[in-house]
């Protein structure tokens, strides 16, 4: 069935988000060691001075990050099945998921813009880099609401369309994002934007989210396709 193939493709977009975005960030130099709030003006200016490589990597990462949108759509399809007549959480998930995607895209586009004219005054580059990184790290509330909406929908679903542990994993991911606004308060250490409890923790758990949701949805799509086939066979008999 074509619909099923599209659903499977959308589910695979979750893990693909991680892979494509990581490739882009590795090319751009955002990974393995990103710029930090304690980085010197020289370090920041020299990062953006490799403009072609940085721009190419960041453009790839914007494509990667946008692959989250198909995943959000397929999550919504399954949440509508879970909730039945009044799929409020499915709508909430759609809205907050879209907002999260935009919050990830904008800072990457801003970083690309910084690399567009690397010979500007260093202070301006520094300020723009601060804006880009703080926008990237701190707007966590939409994603936390999205996680909680998914978690509550899964735990309330009597049919168990998705396994219940996926709901609990979503709550844990929501919790792991809570320290992120601390990036505003610290310029160095584990709670600055480059610290392990901010950038690295968020990167890890966001990847867990994309992979777990993608793979469990793919399994659920296959199971519901099996059900459809057996229903048709039963009707024919």
């Amino acid at each position: 069935m074509l619909t099923n193939r599209i659903l499977v493709l959308c589910a695979w977009a979750g893990p693909a988000t991680v892979v494509v975005a990581m490739i882009g960030w590795l090319i751009a130099g955002v990974l393995p060691v990103p710029l930090g709030s304690e980085s010197s003006v020289e370090a920041v200016v020299s990062f953006y001075s490799h403009d072609t490589r940085v721009i190419a990597g960041l453009v790839i990462s914007t494509i990667g990050v946008s692959l989250v949108f198909p995943l959000i759509a397929v999550i919504a399809v399954f949440m509508v099945r879970m909730e039945g007549r009044t799929p409020i959480l499915a709508f909430l998930q759609l809205i907050t998921g879209a907002a999260t995607g935009v919050c990830l895209l904008l800072p990457l586009l801003l970083m690309t813009t910084i690399a567009f004219r690397p010979d500007r005054s260093p202070e301006l580059t520094m300020t723009l880099n601060d804006i880009a990184w703080l926008l990237f790290i701190t707007p966590i509330a939409p994603f936390i609401i999205q996680n909680v909406a998914i978690g509550v929908a899964i735990l309330n679903d009597k049919r168990q369309t998705l396994p219940r542990w996926v709901g609990y994993v979503n709550f844990w991911i929501a919790f792991s994002f809570i320290p992120d606004p601390l990036a505003f308060f610290f310029h160095s250490g584990p709670f600055a934007w480059r610290g392990i409890f901010i950038f690295w923790l968020a990167l890890t758990t966001y990847s867990v989210f994309l992979v777990v949701m993608g793979l469990t949805l793919r399994k659920a799509i296959r199971e519901s396709a099996d059900l459809d086939v057996s229903a048709v066979a039963a009707a024919a008999a």
Binding site: V80, R81, E83, G84, R85, T86, P87, K158, R159, Q160, T161, P163, R164, W165, V166, G167, Y168, V169, F171, W172, F175, S176, I178, P179, L182, F185, F186, G189, P190, F191, I196, F197, L201, E223, L227
Partner: protein, 222 residues
Amino acid sequence: MTHPQVRVDPDLPEFLWDSDGVEAAPPPARRPAKARDGHTPGEAGLWIFILGDMTLFAAILIVFLWERRSDPVVFEESAHQLIQPIGAANTLVLVLSSYLVVRAVVAHRAGRYPRARRLVAAAVSCAAVFAGLKAFEYYSAISSGHTPSSGTFFTFYFVLTGLHLLHVIVGTALLLVWQAMLKRRRSWTGSQKVAEGIASYWHMVDLLWVAIFTLVYLVSAE
């Protein structure tokens, strides 16, 4: 029994189909329950959350101890600025609340709803006492000039206790959910997963505090 007439329109999503306002009975579970030996409190998935949560706190505590190695004198002085009796009192308050929750599980299982409600209410008051003492502790720390940005020790102190306080607030909300279930006299068989899950979460909140109190208040002051 009459079945509601549902006008099925395959072009529209299921939730837009026109029925007579009667909720359809949920179809049977798609995943058959697996027979298990032994009993997992709450359910297996809950423990992914609990262990994940504790791992995160453990990671923060390990980094805290790591930072302490580089400056044990400042950490010792800072730890002495905390009001240890309040920390100790809060430990006792949470241990007491955990005990009350255990008794509430037993009472709920035995179908003694009013008793279980009183025990859960007592646990909620313990949480309120904890939060009150914590607020006083924050007030006295901040008024004597110790803010999250005054040194590594206080950064970790505020982050750890703040994240923990957030867990206390979420746990209190969950205890109130349980309280509401007891008020509606929800039977143990129908509510075991939820009640045990909430109780397990509350024990985790207690255990995390014991770890934080030991490492931040006591070990650092040595």
